[in-house]
């Protein structure tokens, strides 16, 4: 029988990728709009239907959602590892990159909710963090060998 924690791990990881993708998408649109508004050089055919405020809200919600799924998915992954290998951590490259990404996103959530940063800088961080998630998702499989490799 398949390990239930492994299934939860995969399911939640996918959901978290979805959340982070949406957060990334809204961040890119926000950065484009913000730049044009600051430069006072508006697009001729008008902006996309969203406002900076609505993009910021959407970004915060999807990023938070992604972060919660990511956190629970990571815990499920750790338990699944323990059941299969007898240890919580086995030093798999994807494992390590995931922890690093988690720390990055935790940092973004912290600056966003402590109101240290808002707007452009948070969006830049969200875009960078998504790059890291993409690498964790795809790049690690290509460049490293480990339990997540596609054999």
């Amino acid at each position: 029988m398949a390990n239930i924690f492994l299934i939860i791990h995969i399911l939640l990881s996918c959901l978290s990728y979805l959340g982070f993708s949406l957060a990334f998408f809204s961040a890119v649109v926000f950065l484009w709009m913000e730049r044009r508004l600051k430069a006072k050089h508006l697009p001729k055919l008008g902006f996309l239907p969203w406002s900076l405020e609505s993009l910021d809200n959407f970004n915060t919600k999807t990023l938070m959602g992604g972060f919660v799924f990511f956190t629970v998915g990571l815990i499920a992954g750790i338990i699944a590892t323990k059941q299969r290998f007898g240890r919580f951590f086995i030093g798999d490259p994807k494992e390590l990159w995931s922890f690093a990404s988690w720390l990055f996103y935790a940092g973004i959530v912290w600056v966003r909710f402590s109101y240290t940063l808002r707007g452009r800088k948070v969006m830049l961080l969200a875009s960078l963090a998504f790059g890291m998630v993409l690498f964790t998702f795809i790049g690690v499989n290509v460049f490293f060998q480990g339990i997540h490799s596609i054999r």
Partner: protein
Amino acid sequence: MNLITVGISHKTAPIEEREALFFSGKELPSALQRLTEVPAVQEGVILSTCNRVEIYGLISDTKEGEEKLKHFLCRNVPGRVGKMNGKLYTFLDDESVIHLFKVASGVDSMVVGESEILGQVKQAYQEAVKAQTTGKVMHTLFQKSFQTAKMVRQQTGIGKGFVSVSSVAVSLAKKILGGLADRKVMILGAGEMSQLAAKTLRDEGVSSIVVSNRSYDRAQELAVLFNGKAVHFEEYPRFMNQVDIIISSTAAPHFILSKKTVAPLMKERKQRPLFLLDIAVPRDIDPAVNELDNVYLYDIDDLEGIVKENVTYREGQLVLCYSLIEQKSERFMSWFHQIRSSR
């Protein structure tokens, strides 16, 4: 049997001369009645707006019809037609059709591409229908003009972008802050410009307005007018962290807001976005303030620059509009020729 347009517009005459020929809504039914009594006129519609007064008609004799309609427009005041010479224009048949299609599409408007005119054309037509001065030809012509206007607006960029300073300012505020319904506004300086800005924003439904002015009495006057709150000029910085939009138009000879004063404010505001409109000349706000994150500063030149860009863009769409209008008018004219030869 010919189609005719006789009229006067913002392109040919100033307002003083246009208003002498203006038909008010009250006058219109009786004017339409009199129009049908004019010999040679078979069908007719009167379009009377602040920018144009025009009669569209179907006439049996071109020369007589034109003369009679000009006199009708000038209320048969002796000598007025001669005085208005060069300001009244006449279009016949296909030109008349093209003109109506241009007017309905907003192409001929003072503010190119404005959409209000289409509603006014529709109303003029409905008034004529009510007064029973329209027949098959006017009916078809006006229906085609509505269709053409709709198509021109959909297929070209003639109505795109905002083309007045206040509409640009409101659209920017909405782009930055989202809805304006629960937003708070601060007005610095109680001049005419501030009043106009406050009125525009109140119409957009902002929740509260704070007014501050060097003369407190004047601030109070304006505050009462807009259900707002007056604040002494020395105290306005205390309220700055509560508002989302600041409109500044004081008579101060130097900057009253600088990067140094706004930066700590943004921290206090927890980086909530702030939209600053500096409509004062000389300017009230140091342009460097725009460099701060989450602060969006626009001065009067920025707003006028955007208006100009949008107007230029709309004007660039005119060629496309004309070709669509010409196509549609040709189709109408071939129908009209058939009707004419069958009568």
